[in-house]
Assembly symmetry: C2
Homo-oligomer: 702 residues x 2
């Protein structure tokens, strides 16, 4: 435990010096650096190791596991029961984010560190718990007043009131500002009238809504005195807790079967002039007086809207973490299996090659292991920032904005990464990977929706791209203001164009390379990596910013046309930004590693990440003069060298994730393959020894 931990008023979780799960230390053959698996494991537990460990240990207990044999209805009930077990847990880990005066821990970061690990047990459990504590109760916490906390939170926290988070509508998901549900204030009765005016305004895809929710935090446009004050949130009872029937004026539908997360009862809700007391507008950011007068501490409707939505960023933060956990499960299964599974004859007589010793197999898995590490380190930084803002220690508008941008960038790319990674892992395990007993397909199905809920990934990347472009414009203005002069800035930019965009530098570098080709292993050092990755983001953002600039002064149609021309580039810039954020976090983690051997291996892994990112976008680096052809061709061979160098360490790197048999729950990752092979080998050996082995045909007839 090398990191600092927050003091907590709550029951201490289990000790973590005894690492939960299996963390075997692989015997290191030969010389060279080695990974101290236990030490790396402890480092990876991060800033709240006791809570992360506790959640990981709890997730390894069978009563929280996904039961693949259940029907949808049975699975839903099982997950509800599991949530009740968690609510009743004396450690009260699920309450960590809530106020200490209500039994919580005032510890938002520690809360997420543990919450993310629930994916190990069952993603349905994670999401059902996330709906209850991370969305429904969190909406009360983040959008409500202290009085509302005291009145509404306890029943939400202890699951007396299972709740839905009713924001998305059938007609509008990512564009929350355009929802159709209205909450019209009636000063005569001091009530809000919640109403669904048409089918597209039905609330949809809501966890807990199909079966279990007895209340919901409902987002609706607040109308009072004939004015629409935009989207606000209301606490609305929806079902009779005793009978399970909808309350008068409320109806809904079951979303039915889904591609995954079948333990979550997603559904639809509609409201027909449902009256709720004035006190149940969650009133932190906007209040309505008895006479209908609207007040808010935030004057700008736009800023108020984004502040309210921004307070719900923890969902995105936690999904980034959950995507990392699920990626590590898949990679651990596939890597362990590949370390044992043999196919096709080897150079050694009577033996076959282990999958990990095939170049293609290394290329399929190792870069993803490196990227999973990059995800991990960047996510730790995201958790830090989240905790700083939400603990109140560093809650500034700038930090909030940074947090939202980072959460959007990382969530959008990690939830994409987990899907392609689990698919690669499943295919890398062949037919065995397709069997549910080996976990991967089930996990992938559950993770699928992470790509579009809590913000569609494309929409999120666009948001990140716009923020980057905005920052660029601000930097431009700041330079002018501080007297550095736009002329100089533009000149620098022009120099950049000359150096990187036009063929001149490329031609020069090409000819220089023809004379002095850089030696392998030296041309992609850490400085070169950063220059390439940071330079790429700067160049892409600059290009989009310059291209979009005319849109601001254009008429709406032309403006939209200009935006449309550069939307793909905007999203692409945001993806590159996320990769730079991860590279930076990875590099900082390497630098912070004390043990020299471990630092070396993690450094190689970081190099693999950098080269993988560069290889993915090689065309851009070449077309924009950032890499010469010879350096570009060196990427592949250098990467190949690194993957070979990592081969003896890869099981250690996977073991450091601390995933034991009860976390992986995949038969092929238990060593059964090795047992089968030993038996087969023993059989053939005894056949040969007995002299009964049949001759090979060609030996006789040829």
């Amino acid at each position: 435990m090398t990191t600092t931990t927050e003091p907590s008023p709550m029951v201490e979780p289990v000790e973590t010096t005894a690492v939960p799960g299996r963390v075997p230390t692989s015997p290191t053959t030969g010389e060279g650096p080695r990974v101290d698996v236990a030490a790396l494991h402890d480092t990876l537990l991060g800033r709240w190791p006791q809570w992360r460990s506790a959640a990981r240990a709890r997730s390894a207990e069978p009563d929280l596991w996904k039961d693949e044999s259940l029907s949808m209805a049975e699975h839903r009930e099982r997950v509800l029961t599991q949530c009740r077990l968690m609510a009743a847990d004396p450690k009260r880990q699920s309450w960590l984010a809530f106020p200490a005066r209500l039994g919580g821990g005032d510890a938002p970061g520690a809360n997420l560190a543990g919450f993310e690990e629930l994916v190990i047990a069952d993603p349905s459990l994670q999401i059902k718990a996330g709906v209850q504590w991370g969305l429904f109760a969190a909406a009360i916490l983040n959008l409500g007043t202290p009085e509302q906390h005291d009145r509404l939170l306890p029943a939400a926290m202890d699951l007396t009131v299972p709740g839905a988070f009713a924001m998305t509508e059938t007609g509008h998901g990512s564009d929350v500002a355009a929802i159709g549900t209205t909450a019209t204030y009636d000063p005569g009765t001091e009530e809000f009238v919640i109403h669904t005016p048409f089918r597209a305004a039905w609330k949809d895809y809501l966890g807990n809504a199909a079966a279990h929710a007895t209340a919901a935090t409902v987002f609706a446009r607040l109308i009072t005195g004939g004015v629409d004050y935009g989207v606000h949130c209301f606490y609305v009872p929806v079902r009779d807790a005793a009978t399970g029937e909808f309350l008068p004026g409320i109806g809904g539908e079951d979303d039915g079967l889904k591609g995954g997360l079948r333990g979550v009862d997603n559904g639809r809700l509609w409201f027909d002039h449902v009256r709720v007391p004035r006190a149940d507008l969650l009133a932190r950011y906007g209040q309505v007086a008895a006479d209908g007068t609207y007040t808010s501490s935030i004057d700008s409707p736009g800023r108020r809207f984004f502040t309210m939505l921004g307070s719900l960023v923890q969902g995105r933060v936690s999904l980034d973490g959950a995507a990392g956990v699920a990626s590590r499960i898949g990679l651990a299964i596939a890597t362990r299996y590949a370390a044992e599974r043999r196919q096709f004859a080897s150079a050694t007589p009577d033996d076959e090659v282990v999958l990990l010793d095939y170049a293609v197999h290394r290329k399929r898995l190792f870069p993803r292991i490196a990227e999973a590490y990059a995800l991990h380190f960047a996510h730790d930084r995201l958790l830090d920032l989240f905790d700083e803002v939400f603990s109140g220690r560093g809650d500034t508008p700038r930090q909030r904005e940074d947090l939202e941008t980072m959460a959007a960038a990382l969530k959008a790319t990690s939830t994409d990464f987990v899907l392609t990674t689990l698919q690669e892992c499943r295919e890398a395990c062949g037919g065995a990977g397709f069997l549910t007993e080996n976990r991967i397909t089930s996990l992938r199905a559950d993770m699928d929706v992470y790509a579009t809920f809590e913000g569609d990934n494309t929409v999120l990347l666009q948001l990140v791209g716009k923020r980057l472009v905005g920052d660029y414009a601000t930097a431009l203005r700041t330079q002018v203001r501080t007297g550095q002069g736009q002329v100089r800035f533009v000149a620098r930019r022009a120099a950049g164009v000359v150096l990187h965009r036009t063929p001149l530098r490329r031609a020069a570098q090409t000819l220089a390379d023809a004379v002095k080709r850089p030696a392998l292993g030296t041309c992609f050092g850490v400085d070169a990596q950063r220059e390439l990755l940071a330079g790429r983001v700067a160049a892409k953002v600059e290009a989009v910013a310059l291209a979009l600039a005319p849109a601001q002064k254009a008429d709406p149609v032309t403006g939209q046309e200009i935006f449309d021309r550069h939307q793909v580039a905007l999203v692409d810039a945001a993806r590159s930004h996320a990769e730079l954020v991860r590279w930076d976090a990875f590099t900082a983690a390497v630098a912070a590693t004390k043990d020299a051997g471990m630092r070396t291996v993690l450094g190689w892994l970081r190099d693999v990440y950098a080269l993988t990112v560069i290889e993915r976008d090689l065309g851009w680096f070449l077309a924009n003069g950032r890499l010469s052809a010879s350096r570009a061709r060196a990427v592949e061979s250098e990467l190949d060298d690194l993957l070979r160098r990592l081969r003896p360490h890869v099981l250690d790197l996977v073991d450091a994730w601390g995933m034991g048999d009860n976390h992986l729950r995949a038969k092929i990752a238990t060593g059964e393959e090795r047992v089968r092979q030993d038996e087969a080998r023993a059989y053939y050996a005894s056949e040969r020894a007995s002299g009964n082995a049949p001759q090979k045909e060609k030996k006789r007839t040829r």
Copy 2:
């Protein structure tokens, strides 16, 4: 119907002039070329339109549909029942591939054209039917003698005997030559003794094995007279048809739940000294006389093995077709939804932008529509070749080899394409895409295993790569033999290196480009496309061939090391080859299109395919001097232009696939989204008209 059709002795299927399903003609706004949807639909039906249409129409009938609500056990029974319906169908379409004297059609190509369409009904049904008729019965047909056909085929064809195809073992999938099951001849009783010597030799992942099979075609190493003659196939009864119990000496296990295809009862089988009569060795390629003497028309054990395995190529051919069908279903759903779904405000007041009018959305879907067309045209060529070989009209070793290579290349890449495409489609539909009622996640889960069964995609690509390298070596030798001289060949190659590999040409082209930048729309004409795509394959193959050449003379360990260094490049060359095959087929189809307008639109679509392929591998083209930086940068903008140009035609291109509501079975593709939007729009309009609409806050307070 412009293509020729085979005469068939069988019952004629339904007429196809009335196109099954909905094929509406989109109104074309404005001028320019247009697509004749009905004509294109007919063209796409290909060479056996009546059989493809019949299967498509049959798949649109509810009794063959996948029922998502069923448990695994119920789904298995439903699919068995569906197979029985198909077997009893008076059109006997399932029997098309079998001998006419047994009630079949002697029409292997027509058979597959229909079989592929079964994916529309339920991929489990396709695979269960494929196991019965395409593997179990096909093994009897392709590996058996006419006497065995007469004796064993009828019960397999009419499903009196449901059968398993017992080739894969737990320990060996793609490496069939290494299976452990033995069939030892006992001349005393004139029987073979089928035996599973250890756990890794259990037959595994076999469709029909867990529940329904009463017989199996079992692959085992044939041993007679103390000599192992390699893998042969045996007809082995496995269950008592009356009781469903395993026969003596036979056991097994259920593979249980899988990531998809839950209607197929995959399972494991083992044999404990099970005796089968000598007559039940499927004896087309190898025979054992009563006294145990082995004979074969093929002397070389290696060639015999590959001939036997090659006779089973139709599985791969049909999976390529099935992957195309499933891709089209997903793309049709996502495109129709995107044509109606609106999100975020547009330049037009009070309206929102249709998803298809977002550049990112076009870029997500249109290139995949183009690639789906490329898949289609290449698959038609594959079917032609398959029919030629398996009808006997063109059954030469060279054609067989070409067929196997083409099937491997196309299957390995199309079954990868379908998975990424269905995922893109599901995400493009947001949360709605995740609901089972919208089909895509269910279809994707079922298609998942297509990537690893009937040959693991990586192994298949390696096989293709090796063939390409072998062809290169043959060409080299042929040149020497024909007196053209290796010197000249090497000189040409050296010139190629100078032109394409070294920086010289790049530098020259770079400087030339700086002076005369090619105008957009002209720099990627059809000749340039072919030069780029064919040149890429040639260069990649040549590079690998030269790199691998020393391995042939090296010791085994060094040889394996050399191979390992270039395995990734070998597989990469094979992928590029598949893309060239598709581009060629697409281009031939464009050229064959009579209607000028349609030819224009299909030409654009082919250009999109070409530029998509080039963009995917842009780094290679640049690093190897095939594209200058400015041409490379033009790829993106030219592609963007093409996607805009295709925007008015994209629904036509999708409609030409002939997928009606009963084929798609996705609620979001039925027009319900448009109905919801019309209702919402009418509501807001009436609010405004009544004067009751609330004011916007900012209008009042700012």
